[in-house]
Symmetry: C2
Subunit: 354 residues, 2 copies
């Protein structure tokens, strides 16, 4: 680094459960390497949260911890989840009370998930073509709001509801973000994915908002796909996509499919981004805690490392982010037949960006 | 046919829009051929319904027509949908006011969608393996009930909701149907697909119901996948599936993906089945009306013909259904490089079953 002093970034690290700590350690290693004489210096604070922490303490995400997290510039997140066969943790509890609580409390309305097929990576598709698109998934509304209930539970007269909540405010800001991202990419193409022929009220809000924001981005080409048709194109012609914007649940589904066609969730990064800057954004691999291989140095840290690169972009360190992405791309290209530990992969990428 | 007199089946035919009439004609041709000296004789009544009918008359599904349809033994349905660029028909209107209205009014709670990769058919997957599973999609509940609304519509304070309704009655009957179908298949494996870690109320009802019905089918092996993970397996290891049971929206999404990996919706058949027999069941190809190729004899009638085979099974004519399926399988295996008209394909399959 030349003239400027390096900027201190206060980073919260939540390693979590299973392979979370292993992959997060490599992401931190790469972050440090790429910024060692660069513009950023990371000050790390580790937070013990997750299923294991819950088992020990009964806490998922205490209010004080949430408040403390709000004081950081960004959050790096590993993975959370109970070990398989664990009968103590109610299903989905840690996901909802911690992961989703963070996304909602910190107003992470842009859930950014790039899908890129790197050279050398095997796709399950016979003719994948060039795949390089991003999904902008809404992160704070939709069927994820936890707004449902059940009546006469456990009887033959039970009725259970789930309410999808969608607001003009919530839809507008994420659609606008997607248009902005599309306008900055070479192809400038944005696809809205929904199911407005069936989900008429939510679908109409999404469609009208999409059309009205489009007027502000005349250089962005737009189209629309029902979510069912989108899964067909993701399998038969994923190259057609540049940027996709969609709701929280459809985004959950299509980003796992997108990860699959680009070689698996071992490579899929994500950012939970608060574009208004009111709270810190959080970066996490799409994969889960994979307790079956935890602690064995078998996990692929690439998704965690690419999530750290998304964080560098978000914090404005584009050059450093691109160095990490380049190093990952080269590393991935040389992997065939080559078994390395989690740390060896992290070391190689860290060395390449140093 | 030997001793028994042939049974008269009163069949309603709704050809619909676009390629609907062409493909339905071939399905009827094959039905007649396979039963010509067999146990069934079809008496056809054609109903003009669909987007074109709406444009001409303003009617989607009049009450008298619905009542008349209830008097038939079964319904064969082509496809409906407005022509692209048609600005008169509100988006989704014909789908909701006619197709979904039929499924709901006739209590089609089992939306049965087989996925089979036929020999000779190209899958977009590099290593598809043997694919042969069925999806039992719930057809009368979930987010498809049209139970939502919007407030302050068109303003920056708009809020739009969609309510997913799930009942013990509705979930139990479709889960039980799926267990029965699984128990009759060689592999006897049933996978529940939902998202119970996020959609806790609906998910809990589905999960508890699944577990309790499982007790009545001890020979059926069970597992559970979140819908996002299911899309990964459908792409990376579709052979793992035997029978899938899922809700209306997840079923819509994963059956299009399943059709894609088995060579496209040109081959995907479906039945909207009322297993209680209170109203006639309806059989339809999964594909839409494809107005761009309508009237040109370019449409593949295979999905419509396979839907007719599902109808034969449902009506108890298993031997005839299997003859149609066999004929389709042979025909499909010989298709490479061979361009035939819609009618030529229908003729070939009809000849093979005669
Ligand atoms: C763990 C789960 C709550 C989460 C989600 O559904 O969003 C995950 O699937 C994801 O995509 O990040
Ligand atoms: C046309 C549409 C309403 C329908 C659905 O969503 O069920 C279609 O996609 C299907 O799968 O049959």
């Amino acid at each position: 680094m030349s003239e400027e002093a390096s900027k201190v970034i206060s980073l919260a690290v939540i390693p979590g459960d299973g392979i979370g700590p292993e992959v997060t350690a490599e992401a931190v290693k790469v972050l440090k390497a790429v910024t060692q004489d660069g513009p950023a210096r990371f000050e790390l604070t580790e937070y013990q949260l997750g299923a294991e922490h819950w088992l020990r303490t009964g806490e998922t995400l205490p209010d004080e911890t949430l408040e403390a997290l709000k004081g950081h510039d960004a959050i790096l997140f590993g993975a959370v989840g109970a070990a398989p066969g664990d009968t103590q943790m109610p299903s989905g509890l840690i996901e909802r009370e911690m992961l989703l609580k963070l996304r909602f409390s910190l107003d992470h309305f842009v859930n950014l998930r790039p899908s890129k097929l790197y050279p050398g990576v095997a796709s399950p598709l016979a003719n994948p073509g060039d795949i390089d698109f991003i999904v902008v998934r809404e992160g704070t509304e939709g069927p994820y709001v936890g707004n449902g209930g059940s009546l006469r539970t456990g009887t033959e007269h039970e009725i259970a509801t789930e309410v999808s909540l969608n607001t003009a405010h919530g839809v507008e800001r994420v659609v606008r973000d997607a248009f902005r991202r599309a306008s900055e990419r070479p192809r400038k193409k944005l696809t809205l994915v929904h199911k407005h022929n069936v989900l008429v009220y939510a679908g109409s809000l999404w469609k009208r908002t999409f059309e009205s924001v489009a007027a502000d981005f005349p250089d962005v080409e737009t189209d629309y796909l029902h979510v069912d048709a989108a899964t067909i194109f993701l399998t038969t012609n994923p190259s057609r996509f540049d940027v996709i914007v969609t709701d929280n649940l459809f985004g959950d589904i299509i980003t796992d499919l997108a990860a699959a066609v680009t070689g698996g969730i071992g490579l899929a990064a994500s950012g939970n981004i608060n574009m208004e800057g009111t709270f810190p954004s959080m970066f996490e691999p799409v994969h889960g805690s994979a307790p079956d291989i935890a602690g064995q140095q078998k996990a692929d840290p690439t998704a965690a490392i690419l999530s750290a690169a998304l964080m560098l972009h978000h914090l404005g360190f584009d050059a450093e982010a691109e160095r990490v992405e380049q190093a990952v791309e080269s590393d991935v290209a040389s992997r065939a037949g080559n078994t390395r530990t989690t740390a060896e992969i992290g070391d190689a990428i860290a060395a390449a960006v140093s």
